[in-house]
């Protein structure tokens, strides 16, 4: 094993603020999956948020303050892994956020290269696709926008799901359509946000699945909230929870 890959097996976990507070089970599952893949996982309890909510709302000064805290916490880690494409993509935007502060920009750039979303870390960095998971379910996959379009993640989760015993992956026509969350968009334009999601969920009437899954807690929060309101039997699961199922 090369030195680089040894180093990449020491993982600093970024739980994400939503994961930490709303879905600790997803984060516990992320730890299990990473450990199963041979990683040593560290959780630094000083961590909070990546700053994306303020950044996307135009409050860059406040976003920079939070991003600075993130960099202080994580910059010495050899690999930072988050169970979210969106938060990972935000960390990749830090250099641009600090474009007028050369020293911070450099620190942000170095750290961004070492920050990974869970499925791409497992498949592309560790070369692991089979985590010995077992789940009897028909699963529809949601390609969360930032993972798909900012990070180019498409095949990685599918490769991982293909090795889950008993799991049937059902490809949805609307798998790449946005769920309508969009951060504060979901509460500033709740009607548009929901109509966008309904377009996706309407497909489920014709394509029966048990689980709608993604690798982003924020999309899943939006999707779950609407499925519950619609009284749908479909449940949501994060990729990490599927990969930790036994």
């Amino acid at each position: 094993m090369s030195e680089a890959s040894t180093a990449s097996r020491n993982v600093a976990l970024f739980a994400t603020c939503l994961g930490d507070q709303l879905s600790p089970d997803t984060v516990h599952a992320t730890v299990q999956v990473l450990e199963h893949a041979g990683c040593t996982v560290t959780f630094d309890p000083r961590q909070t948020c990546c700053g994306q909510p303020a950044f996307n709302s135009g409050f860059w000064q406040e976003a920079r303050q939070v991003a600075r805290h993130f960099i202080n916490v994580f910059e010495h880690a050899s690999a930072i892994v988050a169970p979210s494409g969106s938060c990972t993509a935000m960390v990749h935007r830090f250099p641009d956020l600090f474009r007028d502060e050369p020293e911070m920009r450099e620190r942000a750039e170095k750290m961004a290269h070492r920050t990974f979303e869970l499925s791409s870390f497992l498949v592309n960095e560790l070369g692991v696709t089979d985590l010995g998971a077992k789940l009897n379910a028909r699963v529809g996959w949601h390609d969360a926008c930032h993972g798909l379009r900012d990070l180019g993640i498409k095949q990685e989760p599918r490769q991982l799901l293909a090795h889950v015993d008993g799991l049937e992956l059902v490809e949805l026509k609307t798998c790449e359509s946005c769920c309508g969350f969009g951060g504060t968009f979901s509460v500033k334009s709740p009607e548009i946000s929901t109509a966008m999601l309904d377009h996706k969920l309407d497909e489920l009437a014709m394509t029966p699945i048990d689980v709608l899954a993604a690798v982003d807690g924020s999309c899943l929060m939006q999707i779950r909230g609407r499925l519950e309101r619609r009284g749908s039997p479909v449940r949501t699961m994060h990729l990490a929870e599927i990969l930790a199922s036994r």
Binding site: F43, T48, G58, R68, R149, G183, A195
Partner: protein
């Protein structure tokens, strides 16, 4: 003609709600945008070097915008040498006044016009109507919109929000035809009326897709043949051209002609491509060919300001294909009118605040989930989500020349507090404990506006009894 409904970009929220309540609009939009998106995919799948083409086109556009004054100057010189008259318009008012003056000087009473977003942008029809010279729109979709007293809701498919039933009813009402919703019958009625207008017209107005600097030529793309007639049958042709439409060389057209129709309508090529260079000599004209005069109105209207804005200038690379509208899930859901601006959808959300000023279009940069579908389909690779983010920052924090357009006291206070809590782990823990307590009070979260907004359509997420940080015990080998 009935009046145009007054919509504006700052009323986005209310206009979007109106659109969401319109079931006919919903199905018309979804069907049309899905169809265009499917055709686009099929058309570009047949082009093996699509990515290279996009890259090439973007490089041409970047190089042009970087020296826009040079290329637009060269274009103007060459066009004049070829016999055209070039006019410079700093803003919409100047452009409208120039066109009105040309019409007046020629005693032109009957005007026809082909589809052009630049003329929509400057509200030319309204300005000419004030001189009793409102042009007849000759693009079928635009003509329908004009009959209905509406505004376009898509930059290349202006009547995308209308069903054939609605168009049939409109024709019965305005033209007195027997009831029909058959597209062929309706088209035949339109053709008959429009031919009549062409035959009598004494001035034709068009837009410009590309202006070639090295030859002074203008290229206009279309599918109906109405551009041909608008630009050749009347004695005077007036072309309104945004200054960013210029490209350096004739050979550059090759790449753009491959990109634009495929991206816009999924066609390999539009039915007609008219390349017009100046005017014919009087001798040639004796054969009855072409207009006697070609006037090109070069429109700035905020573009030169964008050209020197390092972070935003890629906006000017846009070739107005409409692909981003068809791909945008927000546009697909609410349509173009909700944006309350001439340019709707993702491109409108970045263009309008820059052309009209942020204070005139505050909600538009925020009318997006930043999903990035627009960026994926853009033939010139404009990074629309990043430009939206840039504009959001400017709306909130202001710029050297513009005060913050969208910075409410409570929202500012909220983000400042948020940042303070997020910068300290102990404060973060305290805030989450408070939130855990707060969510036990059912009234409280119904009263907080963001939570009430969420709850209006979705069940609220619940904070876990114990957060990850409070429940995590490092296993052997891992450490906290």
């Amino acid at each position: 003609m009935s009046t145009t409904p007054e919509r504006n970009a700052n009323a986005f929220d209310a206009q979007a709600r109106d659109a969401l309540g319109d079931a006919t609009l919903k199905s018309a939009l979804r069907n049309a945008t899905d169809l265009f998106a499917e055709r686009r995919t099929a058309a570009i799948d047949a082009v093996p070097d699509w990515e290279a083409l996009r890259e090439h086109a973007r490089q041409v556009k970047d190089a042009t915008v970087a020296r826009l004054d040079h290329y637009i100057g060269q274009f103007a010189d060459k066009a004049e040498q070829a016999g055209a008259t070039v006019h410079w318009a700093r803003d919409a008012n100047e452009a409208c006044a120039i066109v009105a003056k040309i019409a007046e000087d020629h005693g032109a009473e009957r005007l026809v016009k082909s589809k052009s977003m630049a003329t929509e942008e400057i509200h030319l029809n309204k300005a000419l109507a004030a001189h009793d010279r409102e042009p007849v729109e000759t693009d079928l979709g635009e003509w329908i919109i004009q009959l209905a007293g509406e505004t376009p809701s898509h930059i290349i498919v202006p009547a995308i929000h209308m069903t054939r039933d609605a168009i049939g009813e409109l024709f019965v009402d305005k033209l007195g035809i027997p009831p029909s919703n058959d597209p062929k019958t309706l088209c035949a009625h339109a053709r008959e009326r429009l031919r009549n207008h062409f035959a009598k017209a004494d001035l034709g107005i068009s837009g410009v897709n590309f202006g070639v600097a090295e030859t002074g030529s203008i290229l206009i793309l279309e599918n109906e043949g109405n551009v041909r007639m608008t630009t050749t049958m009347p004695k005077v042709h007036v072309a309104v051209m945004g200054i960013e439409r210029v490209i350096p060389r004739f050979a550059d057209l090759e790449v753009f002609l491959r990109l634009l129709p495929r991206s816009g309508t999924g066609q390999h090529l539009t039915t007609y491509q008219s390349i017009l260079t100046g005017t014919d000599s009087p001798k040639q004209r004796r054969c009855g060919q072409g207009p006697e005069e070609l006037h090109i109105v070069l429109l700035d209207n905020g573009r030169s300001k964008i050209a020197v804005d390092e972070k935003m200038r890629e906006t000017l690379a846009c070739i107005r294909c409409g692909a981003c509208l068809n791909a945008c899930p927000v546009y697909q859901t609410i349509g173009g009118h909700a944006y309350g601006s001439v340019y709707p959808g993702p491109i409108g959300a970045i263009l309008t605040p820059q052309l009209a000023g942020m204070h005139e279009a505050k909600p538009l940069p925020f009318a997006s989930t930043l999903c990035g579908a627009c960026k994926d389909v853009c033939p010139v690779k404009i990074d629309i989500p990043s430009l939206l983010l840039e504009l959001r920052q400017r709306a909130v924090e202001g710029t050297a020349t513009e005060s913050p357009a969208k910075r409410g006291f409570f929202e500012s206070l909220t983000w400042r507090m948020w940042s303070w809590f997020m910068r300290g782990p102990k404060r973060f823990r305290f805030a989450s404990a408070m939130a855990r307590f707060g969510q036990r009070l059912p009234l409280l979260h119904r009263l907080l506006p963001p939570m009430a907004a969420w709850h209006s359509t979705r069940e609220l997420p619940k904070l876990a009894k114990k957060s990850f940080r409070d429940s995590y015990r490092p296993s052997q080998g891992s450490k906290q």
